[in-house]
Subunit: 195 residues, 2 copies
DNA sequence: CCGCCATGTTTACACTGTAAAGTTTACACT
DNA sequence: AGTGTAAACTTTACAGTGTAAACATGGCGG
């Protein structure tokens, strides 16, 4: 392969990895096929990424930033509403992001760490921002982060089962979406108002 | 390896597979190491199981039956209670099963089908029994299976994130358990009584 | 006794991630 | 211009994966 100044190769790797991830999913993303697609040898990739996991980590990070954009946008669009309405918008945006970016969602939230190096602390923080948005919509403010986690977890449950195709097709996605969002909303509505 | 009458080998395969699954997790479960552990060649396993996935399927089936036992027991112990109390017992039992049998839970509900052959229809039915138990606890009876699915999904969300170690350790498991269960209970309590 | 079938092994293929060592290119500096 | 060095990339190799095809062997029924 022609020398092309390093960072171009790195960009090509990421671009192709992203493409394969979206088209064929995580399992099809192999270092060798990746290398073949961009016209270099497998080991070249190791010049830019410690290993496959750290390549995945940067994809996760991309996904987290995409998600953050979507969530922030949803919050801005509903900023005039009460906490219930903001949560409805947030949950809806989260749900839609998950189903519209299934392959991203999978590497972001469904991959087991045993198959994966520990997620680096710096990137972990950027991921946590997304989750904190849920607690921040509670009427009492972000003082109960665990409740935010619970609301997020419940949403994640439905999304992950849909992605994993563990829910019978006879149940409509829209109905499941509504139920999941309303459950999140109900949890907010049940909180005491304190701020 | 000595001929030992077939079903013994099959039993040994399953026993070792179960052991590895519980000890080292799904990723460590390889046909070759499995064969080495029970003292046969990898291909011998293919006499008893079509492929790795179908071996996993029978483990999933085992897990589903274990889970069913736990859920039925919880329901029996709470049979005198109202639908809210029965759901509390059911959700608690489901949650505990998940965390006490993480490796089973993972293959049962968290593995992506792309990595896996389609779950056989017959076994799928036995899995569905477990989910139907949730809808059956609704005050209006099992007429709204999708609500049962939603309650189950939300529980699954918390469990799967805990198993995947995607929830910060600073959040106590007990508190998350309580919140998840109460969210399930609240969804039941919010239903109209019709039967 | 003989043939068949269940039970198993041997061998092989096409993959996977990744480490070590060697090679080529580009550029800075004397 | 010539040389040193570092970046970029390849070659080769290892150890592992699932699994298919062909071959061997034991025991049992006719």
């Amino acid at each position: 392969m022609t020398r092309n100044g390093g960072s171009e190769t790195r960009a090509a790797i990421l671009e192709e990895a992203r493409r394969v991830l979206l088209d064929q999913g995580y399992t099809s993303l192999s270092m060798r096929s990746l290398a073949a697609a961009i016209g270099c040898t497998p080991t070249t990739i190791y010049l830019y990424f410690k290993n496959k996991d750290s390549l995945i980590h940067t994809l996760i990070d991309e996904g987290m930033n995409m998600l953050h954009g979507r969530l922030i946008q949803a919050l801005e669009e509903s900023s005039e509403g009460c906490s219930v309405e903001r949560m409805r918008a947030l949950a809806g945006a989260y749900f839609d992001f998950g189903l519209e970016n299934q392959e991203y969602y999978e590497v972001m939230f469904m991959l087991h760490p045993q198959h994966m190096d520990r997620y680096p602390a710096a990137k972990y923080r950027s991921a946590r921002r997304n989750l904190e948005l849920f607690a921040e919509q509670l009427p009492e403010g972000p003082s109960q982060p665990v409740v935010g986690i619970q609301i997020w977890s419940a949403l994640h449950g439905t999304i992950s089962l849909l992605i994993a195709q563990r829910i019978d097709n006879k149940f409509s996605r829209d109905e499941l979406r509504d139920l999941a969002i309303e459950q999140a909303v109900a949890t907010v509505a049940a909180r005491p108002i304190e701020n």
